[in-house]
Assembly symmetry: C4
Homo-oligomer: 149 residues x 4
């Protein structure tokens, strides 16, 4: 007997392994020390606008409520910013677009902690088009282990 | 007594440590929240065509059957896409080339979950040549822990 | 009963999940095998100056004392360099700016180990503007597991 | 009583925490599914030559013997390539320079598994200067858990 159910396991031919998506998948807290919205851009908007993005994957069968806590060098944290990722959906959220309770300042170092009420997976991507060609970076966020209850 | 066999351990000189490849190596499920096929390219095809790639390493002595589940922001998931990675081989698969059961749309945010029937390792790379020079990003995918049976 | 307290949990509406930041968050030791300060730059200083950065997130309610140990290919290690990250703050530290006990040489391969007295999270970012457009890389550092006491 | 010794712990002032480097630090096996040596370059050699690098950090007090196993899509694995990383040193090794037992082909997909006889940390970096400005990618390699003996 396993703790894990299979979701969306497709319909392979007879004899093929099922290879469905295991549940739960991910963590409920992720941390990102790097954050910076480049204050300038080159190229057409919005695709080539310099941006800082968190990509949220909710592979679970339940909608996820997400809170984003933003940390700075010289002031107390902002947020939490609230977002929702529906069941079995991804959402690529630009920090540029967050404005409730306050916008994220451009050209300023920040960090973030993302907390959800169901397990998700979080990846960080920046497109920096300040100079003539765009640059990219990406990394998974740091998955925070759940403490034993 | 160990659970782990040594594969492909080479032929070091007498007295040198063997340093073979331990088995099993990797996980059977990996998640990638970031996914985007840039809709334009600059430079010669196919090398400089903008692409989104998953690199699959099967260091095991058994062929791997792989299923790729693709998640979107506004519709239900696509796939699973099926692939095979032979024993002791790597396969660098472009999302651009997936078309069964349907192509992956360009210029659209997606995410993916990769499930295999033997342990593998998965890394994500994008080449974006929309502007005059190419940009690159890469990160390991998130390894999903196996639940205790 | 849980080992983990909630910090900065915001003020969601009635019935919404709290989604505060769990404590502790992170590790006390992180390693970064890659390190290189590009010896040239293109574009305005200091934003586009080629740099090698470690982003430190201290989401805890206590100030963090940090020591940075720097390793080279052909000489004994330098440091430790000392830094402080206040409680609930982030600090993005350029290796370019470290000079006590000695500056980090430009154009030279190095690696680093970051040790703190409270759990933190560490991410590595380089901006390389040696050529006409800047390039970026980023990855989380490697979290060193605490040994059982 | 702890299993972990402190190495290179510096000389903080009286009352400051020691913050030395814990031992052991890292893993003895790492995997990298992505590998590709771009077959062309723009700019001065060797700094701007397109290259694929593994950065090895040996923070331990013992020299490390390293074996690199290279996997391909369509042929059996090459290697192992042998390297040494002295105690408390880093080594940034270009796949471009490996030639014993055979060179790594350019413009060809590969993957690698790095095995050492003491714990190390491994990070992967590529500089791609095929087009007018260089692009960079970097990620930690995948740390393979030691099986219980």
């Amino acid at each position: 007997m396993t703790r894990r159910r299979q979701e969306g396991s497709g319909t392979p031919g007879a004899g093929a392994p099922a290879l469905g998506v295991p549940q739960p998948l991910g963590h409920r807290c992720w941390a990102l020390p790097e954050g910076y919205i480049p204050p300038a851009s080159t190229g057409p908007s919005p695709q080539m606008t310099s941006h800082e993005t968190i990509c949220l994957l909710n592979a679970s069968p339940r909608d996820a409520e997400v809170a984003i806590h933003v940390y700075f060098a010289e002031r107390s944290p902002a947020g939490p910013y609230r977002a929702r990722v529906p069941a079995r959906r991804t959402r690529h959220l630009r920090f540029n677009d967050l404005d409730d309770p306050e916008p994220i300042p451009r050209g300023t170092d920040f960090a973030s902690v993302i907390v959800a009420d169901v397990p998700i997976v979080v990846q960080h991507t920046r497109l920096d088009s300040r100079q003539a060609a765009n640059a990219l970076l990406s990394t998974l966020a740091f998955p925070v282990a759940e403490s034993p209850a």
